[in-house]
């Protein structure tokens, strides 16, 4: 189990990570989620032993790692752009860690790993001839070949285009779960984190603002900024929050975060409002509605509803698409 205890990392006196404490239990996938520049990559590099902490402790099963150099930590790091060795073939890239350790049966293991990432028969190719997605698969196989006690993934999918990212995310999830590899992942993409992680750690401006099981974090964001970063469209507090919470049949809380699809057009709905904007998408109609007592909110409707600006409508709230925000703003 990896533990960070009050970790601080600075670049040239400028603090990049401030007082970070977290744990990665064996066999779990933990995602550190945060906007770019929040210090999450620095945190990962510190865990890998590539950046010296300015204070705090990084330990594995209670053994302090401060004096353990990168290559003795047994943590494989996979970079955002793979960082394949361009002068080595795919097979030699994947087998690199095995050669470093002079492990027996390397060739068979390499074939097995290439099969696991869906790249059978790619062994003799050079990295330059691969597509972006293939390169990331090779990088993943190379990291897994090291048989790491902890796998560190730095934005593993964000260099890829949308369709590929989705496919590779589900493959990655399956591979990580099947191999039972303990993984620390950093990303700015909530969907990537949601798809892969058992636990979420949210970071902002160098600090950890929230952590917990993925579903819990999603259901109860620590504050408005976290809720917005997690993909909630709006955060309400005060009287408007009370109106929406009442309509959703939820207990009173100081503030509530709404996904874009939290309000739906519903003839039997408890809320009333006037449509301000209406935009058609293939799946649904996206509306902006002035709701009585709650102000301007987003809503969705079936494409068949033909709601147009100026129409008076009634709306219902889907409680599953709202989240109670823990700390009031």
């Amino acid at each position: 189990m990896l533990s960070l205890d009050d970790l601080h990392v600075s670049y040239d006196g400028h603090p990049a990570v401030v007082g970070a404490s977290l744990e990665v239990p064996d066999g779990e996938v933990v995602a550190v989620l945060g906007p770019s520049g929040c210090g999450k990559s620095t945190l990962l590099r510190a865990v890998a032993g590539l950046e010296p902490p300015s204070a705090g402790r990084i330990s594995w099963d209670d053994a302090d790692l401060a004096r353990v150099p990168t290559h003795k930590r047994g943590f494989a790091l996979m970079f955002q752009d793979g960082q394949l060795f361009t002068h080595l073939t795919v097979a030699r890239n994947v087998g690199y860690a095995l050669r470093v350790r002079r492990a027996a049966g390397a060739a068979a293991r390499v074939d097995e790993l290439l099969a696991a990432v869906g790249l059978e028969g790619y062994g003799d190719r050079l990295p330059a001839t691969l597509s972006g997605g293939e390169r990331q698969r090779v990088a993943l196989a190379r990291s897994l070949a090291a048989d790491p006690r902890l796998l560190l993934l730095d934005e593993p999918l964000s260099a890829l285009d949308a369709g590929l990212r989705e496919r590779l995310a589900s493959d990655l999830g399956v591979i990580l779960r099947e191999s039972g590899t303990t993984t620390l992942l950093v990303t700015h993409d909530q969907e990537e984190a949601f798809a892969l992680a058992d636990r979420l750690v949210v970071m902002r401006a160098g600090r950890i603002v929230q952590q917990g099981p993925t579903a819990d974090v999603w259901a109860r964001p620590a504050d408005a900024a976290t809720a917005l970063f997690l993909g909630y469209a709006r955060v309400l507090d005060g009287a408007p929050a009370a109106v929406v919470l009442a309509a959703a049949g939820l207990a009173g809380a100081a503030s509530v975060a709404l996904r874009r699809s939290a309000l739906t057009l519903d003839d039997a709905g408890p809320l009333r409002g006037v449509v301000l904007e209406s935009r058609a998408t293939p799946d649904q109609l996206r509306l902006v509605v002035r709701v009585d007592g709650a102000g301007v909110l987003d809503a969705v409707a079936s494409p068949a509803s033909h709601a147009a600006p100026g129409d008076a409508v009634t709306l219902a709230v889907d409680p599953a698409r709202t989240a109670l925000v823990a700390g009031a703003v």
């Binding site: 290559h71 060795f85 470093v100």
Partner: protein
Amino acid sequence: MKRLVALAGLAALPVVVLGGFFVLPVAGMVARGFWPDGAFDPGAVAEVLGRPRVHRVLWFTVWTSTVATVAAVLLGVPAAYVLYRLKFVGRSVVRGLLLVPFVLPTVVVGVAFRQLLREGGPLGGLGLDGTPAGIVAALVFFNVAVVIRTVGAAWEGLDRRPGEAAAALGASPATVFRTVTLPALRPSIVGAASVVFLFCATAFGVVLTLGGSRYASVETEIYLLTTNLLDLPAAAALSVVQLVVVVGLLAISARARRTPDAAVARTTAPPLRVRRSDVPQVVLTAVLLAVVATPVAALVVGSLRDAGADGGWTLDHYRDLVATPDGPFSVSAADALLTSLRTAVDATWMSLLLGGLVAVTVTRRSRGRAERRLRGVLDGFFMLPLGVSAVTLGFGFLITLDRPPLDLRDSPLLVPVAQALVALPLVVRTLVPVLAGLDDRQRQAAASLGAGPLRAFATVDLPAVWRPLLAAAGFAFAVSLGEFGATSFLARDAEPTLPVVIYRLIGRPGLDDYGTALAASVVLAATTAVVMLAVERLRVPAVGAF
């Protein structure tokens, strides 16, 4: 078609100049070897190559160059790491100081090592004076900067992350170096080594001053055969041999450069603080700095010592610099320095003009196979002076430019032109990486906004290139100041450059003349060093890298 015409227009001047002042003289040399009496007779060349002395000279050239190259690489690579990957106070000064030996006039290097190693000198006890070991040491001193600059520039641009990825996969620092760093540096190391070998094999001033007639390399043998023995066919034959070897080596170094290397993904990795594991490299660099400083220190101290028995401190040698000695064609060292400076100014503008045109020509993006091939040929053609020995060039000037259509025997331009050709490859090598590094789409963007080719050049190329251009000017100036190989053939007796005067002075028996030679060497070295340190302040990575 239009593009080819434009290409031809740009390349015209350099091609004509190189044709007249390089191909013609060198061809003249070759002709002198194979057509000794007007009739084709390869037998003369074969006869020369069969002489035992020539075998000795060839073998000596090969083994000293090999040993010196290996030593320069072994010393230069760790220093490149320290100077380009680590962060410490005084880094740029150390970089500048280590570049100075490369542009120190060869004659000065020779004199400095003699002063260091001669009987009664600071290291006289080692008994290295006049031995091959002394020559090899001087060659290493001279060329280690080439390795540092070339490998350092590549190392600085090396992405740190592949190494980090390897470390995260369990590779120890030594394994990371062997399996990731070294393969990435290999092109630059091979390139540097081949250039250093080339410079060692064509070294002239150093070998001539330290080896005399006992230890001759091909280069000095050509000189001795020409000037002392007047055996022109033999000199020509040796020049031909050298030409063949040099063209081969140039081809190897060009290949090494062409291998895709760190230049593809050029980032400048921020240097790291010195860690405990860096201590061996840092110590080695400090030793190297001391080794480089020792001959220079010996030179300076020697120039301030009375040549007589008491050996007290004196400035007499410096006073002698302005005095005109007796004898025919005697000029004071101060006059010679003025001649050197004047010549260097001329050589600098010539090499900049030619080098600028060449760099623009070879870096423009080619469209189509024919154009690309033509540019490739031109690129190689313009690099030829890098390897063709200065002595061959000077000798070729001497025998071909003395009659119509080009009768330049007494032209004051002869020496600057020769020096400009010697400096040309260095100018081109400084400018090409900068121009090649510019994204062609920038020029296309300028053009799409209505800028003509000249305007686009001024908008995109010029801002990037002015510093390298200035640096190249300084580099050319320094090289020209110290140029000895070609100048020794071409300088008119009444108007010698300072290196020529120094060589004349050390050739004379008197102790005072020797002291004056030391003082003149110090002045020449100081002038070049100042120019080079100014160049270093411009922070152009490609200066002195190949």
